[in-house]
């Protein structure tokens, strides 16, 4: 391919990726409200559009038309920057997640990933570490006690669980022997999903991902009864929408990563034995990837409405005394598996 063809294909891929990311974030909010209504025997949003389907757009426009209040006590520059750091991190991680195998479209071999980086997992880890800055700066720069406490709590929580995430990913890297997300998916060919081979690592990764995205039961940074709104107490208008978008985008990325690292990505076991045509197989594989992601997103919401919030000391104990030793144990387990069975 010439340079222009490469640029055009990547621009098309980026346009599709960004639009689908934004749309899915908007509809995550809708589905979260619908599922929570269902869990609590209510109706949920049902006025805007057919069964409330246009509700996300109404919310976005409402936030656009709201006055943006920056308190006098706040550090104006950092207060403005913080939500965009969060948004940037959430969006940029999306670029390296592959949604399907290589496809042959109009005579071109096209990889279904925006950027096939050979150190993709390191890139993801680096960016999620940056995500702590957005929240900490938001808490510190608001000039409010609630924000400060929320921000500090959140940063301590995120860094505690980041260690377990790192060690859980270590197990996946042992199996795949590569940092490229596509290689990691290919290493799980034929039902050898990492979730089955290393269940402990899977559990520690999922729990830590919940904690990293500040979702219930780990949403201590914005524990409403004690901290009002946590780090976004002093945010309004579009800056608040920035944090909101970032939270949901993070949730989607966490699900995408869980599927890529542990649930076999786009792989369906033994689909190539069925003798289907190549095109149909690819479509099935992409559909399976999206289905798995949707299921993980449903689990995120399901857990939110089933489990009460932890206390802060319980959260820290769980992170350091349970998740971290388990993640270490998982690495030893995977190393032994590879030693014994020569996987």
């Amino acid at each position: 391919m010439t340079i222009w063809e490469i640029i055009i294909t990547s621009v098309i891929k980026i346009a599709i990726a960004l639009t689908s990311l934004l749309l899915s974030v908007a509809y995550m909010v809708y589905f979260e409200r619908k599922i929570s209504a269902w869990a609590q025997n209510r109706l949920g949003p049902n006025r805007v559009g057919y069964r409330g389907l246009l509700q996300p757009f109404a919310d976005v426009f409402k936030l656009l038309f709201k006055e943006d209040i920056v308190p006098d006590a706040a550090n104006k520059t950092l207060h403005t920057m913080a939500p965009f750091i969060s948004l940037f991190v959430a969006f940029a991680t999306y670029a390296v997640v592959p949604i399907g195998p290589e496809v042959n479209l109009f005579g071109y071999q096209i990889k279904l990933v925006v950027a096939d980086v050979n150190i993709g997992i390191l890139y993801v880890l680096a960016l999620t570490s940056l995500g702590v800055y957005g929240i900490t700066l938001a808490g510190w720069s608001s000039g409010s006690k609630y924000s400060l406490l929320g921000g500090i709590r959140s940063s301590a929580q995120m860094i505690s669980y980041e260690v377990s995430i790192g060690f859980s990913i270590g197990g996946v890297l042992l199996m795949a022997g590569s940092l490229r997300p596509i290689d990691i998916v290919n290493a799980q060919y034929g039902g050898m999903w990492n979730a089955i081979l290393q269940p402990i690592g899977f559990i520690t990764f999922v729990v830590s991902a919940f904690a990293e995205t500040n979702r219930l039961p780990f949403d201590l940074p914005e524990a409403e009864p004690e901290l009002v709104g946590g780090y976004h107490t002093e945010y309004s208008s579009f800056k608040f929408a920035g944090f909101f978008l970032a939270e949901y985008a993070n949730m989607i990325i966490a699900s995408l990563l869980i599927v890529t690292l542990y649930l076999g990505g786009w792989q369906i076991p033994y689909v190539d034995k069925l003798g289907l045509s190549e095109g149909l197989t690819v479509v099935l594989q992409i559909a399976s990837f999206l289905l798995k992601t949707a299921f993980m997103l449903f689990v995120f919401i399901w857990v939110r409405w089933s489990i009460p919030r932890f206390r802060y000391d319980q959260l820290m104990n769980l992170g350091w005394k349970v998740m971290f030793p388990l993640a270490l144990l998982n690495i030893v387990w995977v190393a032994m598996l590879i030693m014994i069975f020569k996987l």
Binding site: I14, E67, L87, F88, D116, S144, I159, D313
Partner: protein, 136 residues
Amino acid sequence: MLTEFGKILIFILFAAIFVIITLFVAKIVRPNRPTFEKLKIYECGENPEGSPWVKFNIRFYVIALIFLIFDVEVVLLFPWALAYKEMGFYGFSIGIIFLLLLVLGMAYEWRKGDLEWARPKPKPPKLNEILKNKTN
């Protein structure tokens, strides 16, 4: 030739343009009527008391230090994990030794009580009791 990170750059540029356009539109359409009360920070309707940058617990700092140690160890673990399949039993034993050292550090911190969030109140020695014990 466009490298893969070049594509990421285009991706980020697109995202940045999107954010800037929305910010600009929001700036045009939203009202801006600040008042004295609106610009105060929220403290449940009361006048804010004292500095907003309150002193926070030292344990957050200890947690950050522990994180720093173990995150560096994650970085050291990744190259081993990537090359593991080529090294056989030698790689296995090296990894186990490394992880043992990690567990030792972990056990030390655990024993020292640095992982304990809710610590028992420290008991300062009382002069009366020390004197009583001495006379006995």
